[in-house]
Amino acid sequence: MTPAGRSGTRGFDLVVVGGGIHGSSAALFASLRGLSVAVLEKDTVARHASGTNAGGVRRLGRHHAEIPISQRSMQIWYGIADLLDDDCGFQIAPQIKVAETDAELAGLSQRAGELQAMGYDHEIILDRAGLRRHLPAISDHAVGGLASLKDGFAQPYKTTFAIQRKAMEKGARFYEHCQAGRIHRSDGVWQVETADGVFAAPRLLNAAGAWAGAIAGALGEAAPVEAIAPMMLVTNRVPHFCDAVVGAAGRPLSFKQMPNGTVVIGGGRRGRADRHANRSEILFNELQLTAETAMSLFPVMRSASIVRSWSGVEGRMPDDIPVIGPSARHEGLYHAFGFSAHGFQMGPGVGELMAELIATGATQAPITPFSIARFAV
């Protein structure tokens, strides 16, 4: 690591563009493998999707291709307090997808069967009574559900901030308010130009979230990243009635009661995302159905008041699964972005596998479905 003046060049083993949970986590695991790492963040760590998501630590309902990485990540989550010396607000809790009709329940049962056949047993079917054992406040009309009982939730900013601090303790350097400009490669070394000087490394990880498509594109790799702004509502404190994180099979919803009694409601409805202005905006007319869904599943919510909302800018891929893996075009370039509003739980697992891939040139993790090559034109 050679510090230099504003116009000089700093050299590292790895430069990560993007200080979200994936970039920070890759920086941590790469540092643990002995690599010198610089993380370049144009705003502040966890400013966007990593600090502003709903905090669900969810394996339930994932795309089949994501399950192995999600499973590995879950193991890291179970030990997150020891890994990071910070509890991250992580709590194990059931994640439940509620079926409101018999047809929805049949669909969930079919999925549970498919997963069993693949060798996964974390998703189980709850019948009418089983659903009510976990969700006593659920509306009468709900017929059952699909559950992953040992999933959970955490505090998004607290988690990513803790990952950053541990990575720094292990030697990684974080440069905030430091936007990656022109990127090029000479003599096998990536050069990332910034207003703060040039950052050089033989390996480069693009973990720039909603902004990653532009970086990949500038390097000649198509990656159609859409900027989206998932929205969350927070209610006043209400008496404890729910221990699980709840979704619905037939309507977009993510619902959980926090330990302090407030209820966080999100799921699917999107606000206005402005990548260029670095901001997102809540659109309340889009939230009408979210409010309706929450009340229809939990009649107790009728009298709750919304006291806050938030949203953040997130990157979404057309097929709703991320890009994870080496560049299909350049040596020494890697990608981890486009988590399409469900990347938080995968953060530690993806960081670990990216560090393995970058440090050793290979990983056992099945990442082929996530190759950027699927968007090649």
């Binding site: 502040t44 901030f161 699917g268 659109l283 007319n285 009728r302 709750a304 008041s305 919304i306 938080f344």
Partner: protein, 470 residues
């Protein structure tokens, strides 16, 4: 149901808001005024329409002067929407509001924010105990229901502290004491601005008369007090401080704190307007041009929400802003009128440098002890904020994520300035560099049921829905 359009929406029915609405309606603009209260007047003229002659006498002639403002407003063509909560303003200037338990939308061509001032938080040990209130809250009780508190200690500083004391005396409830926490030398420093202030000398005479009346009534006044703290376990029992080289302890179960007022930033922050830190007054101001325009398109601010000047200049500013808004919307407006209003505002403002020098917030309020609560909604102390800054958290939004400071029912209105200042001091930067909470809607709570019934634009296509968020 489709949202209504108006030329001008005024938010707030205090002196700036109602003067602006009256003026704008007179110029032929379609005007709506939304306000949380049931009657016009704002906090300064609260209860003015219903005050008895006796209450008017207690509250004084400056208060009574508000009646002509509300009368003109009532007889103007401006639409008045009382008991109305504005809870969101979109980047397209659409305004979401609630009235009678029903969420609705309005699309004004221009918005005048006239939401006035808030009392500055005065975090001292024990400030959140029951029995402790603010001088402003005490005065609102007096204005709206004639209620006074006996044996009350007024502590802090600012013109309002003396005004409330004289009003309490007139109402027959003499305060137990005034504990003024200004550092020594403030009066001398303020006198430097006396020549300028003499342009609006009636303010100075009024101030001196208030102080004389309080002293004549035999109220003990402790000057240059430091180390203010409130004792009590479940309720305020006493206030302690040093003054005149001695330690004092006054037993009381009623304490009203005051450390001046600051612009209410909730709406100007919500719309993303630019703000600037005023180091002398230790508060943020929205950045305005000479036509009361913020950096957000067609959103204006008049009155104490722009900068603290008081009720009379607020009304003049409201009138002037209305004229300029009309002009911005293509109406012809007399330049002589504009010039006269500008001169009136400048005259009233001439007293401010002196008042602001004398009554700048006491240093100990700006640097609370580690154990003092800062965010009372979520019970976060100054020490907790400092320790998270030491971990590397860069600003108020990260403090909010880590500690929940500013996440409670008040949405950071009470703690925001104190949090920004504590972080800035710890990092050795200015609050302007540190920044402020991102203010997210709803800025006033709405029920889930109300949101579920909300359909401002039935015909608009909805965005496609995706997977549940992580």
């Amino acid at each position: 149901m489709s949202a209504r359009s108006v030329d001008l929406l005024v938010i707030g029915a205090g002196p700036a808001g109602i003067a602006a609405a009256t003026e704008a309606a007179g110029l032929g603009l379609s005007v709506s005024v939304m306000d949380e209260q049931s009657r016009p007047g704002g906090q300064i003229y609260r209860g003015i329409e219903t005050a008895s002659p006796k209450r008017l006498a207690v509250l004084g002639k400056d208060y009574a002067a508000g009646r002509s403002l509300t009368e003109s407003f009532r007889s103007s063509a401006a639409e008045y929407l009382p008991d109305t909560l504005v809870w969101n303003i979109g980047s397209d200037r659409s305004v979401d509001f609630s009235r009678g338990g029903r969420a609705q939308q309005m699309n004004p061509s221009a918005i005048l924010v006239a939401t006035g001032a808030l009392e500055r938080p005065m975090p001292i040990p024990g400030w959140t105990l029951p029995g402790v209130t603010t001088a402003g809250a005490l005065q609102i009780l007096l204005k709206s229901s004639g209620i006074v508190r006996d044996n009350c200690v007024l502590a802090g500083a600012g013109p309002l502290l003396w005004l409330v004391a004289t009003q309490m005396i007139a109402a027959g409830a003499r305060p137990a004491a005034i504990v003024e926490n200004l550092p020594r030398g403030r009066i001398v420093a303020g006198l430097r601005h006396l020549p300028g202030a003499l342009r609006a000398r009636e303010y100075l005479f009024k101030g001196l008369a208030m102080i004389a009346r309080v002293k004549a009534a035999g109220v003990p006044v402790y000057a240059n007090a430091t180390g203010l703290a409130i004792e009590g376990s479940t309720q305020a029992e006493a206030i302690t401080f040093s003054s005149g080289g001695r330690q004092h302890r006054i037993e009381t179960d009623a304490i009203a704190l005051h450390q001046g007022v600051v612009p209410n930033q909730q709406i100007t922050r919500l719309v993303g307007a630019e703000h600037r830190w005023d180091a002398a007054q230790a508060c943020f101001h929205p950045v305005l041009d000479a036509r009361f325009r913020t950096s957000a398109d067609s959103i204006y601010v008049a009155g104490d929400g722009a900068a603290i000047n008081g009720a009379r200049p607020a009304a003049l500013q409201g009138r002037l802003a209305a004229l300029l808004i009309a002009e911005d919307q293509g109406r012809r407006v007399g330049t002589e009128r504009i010039r006269r209003l500008q001169a009136g505002i400048a005259r009233d403002k001439s007293v401010r440098p002196m008042l602001e020098t004398i009554y700048a917030p006491a240093p100990e309020i700006l640097a609370p002890a580690d154990s003092t609560l800062i965010c009372r909604c979520e019970e976060v102390t100054a020490g907790e904020i400092r320790s998270v800054v030491d971990l590397g958290a860069p600003g108020p939004n990260q403090i909010k994520s880590m500690l929940r400071a500013g996440m409670g029912p008040c949405q950071g209105r009470v703690c925001g300035l104190a949090v920004a200042q504590i972080i800035a001091d710890r990092k050795g930067e200015t609050p302007e560099e540190t920044g402020y909470y991102r203010i997210r809607p709803p800025i006033k709570p709405i029920t889930l049921a109300e949101l579920a019934a909300y359909a401002p634009d039935e015909d608009a296509p909805r965005a496609a829905s995706g997977d549940a968020a992580a």
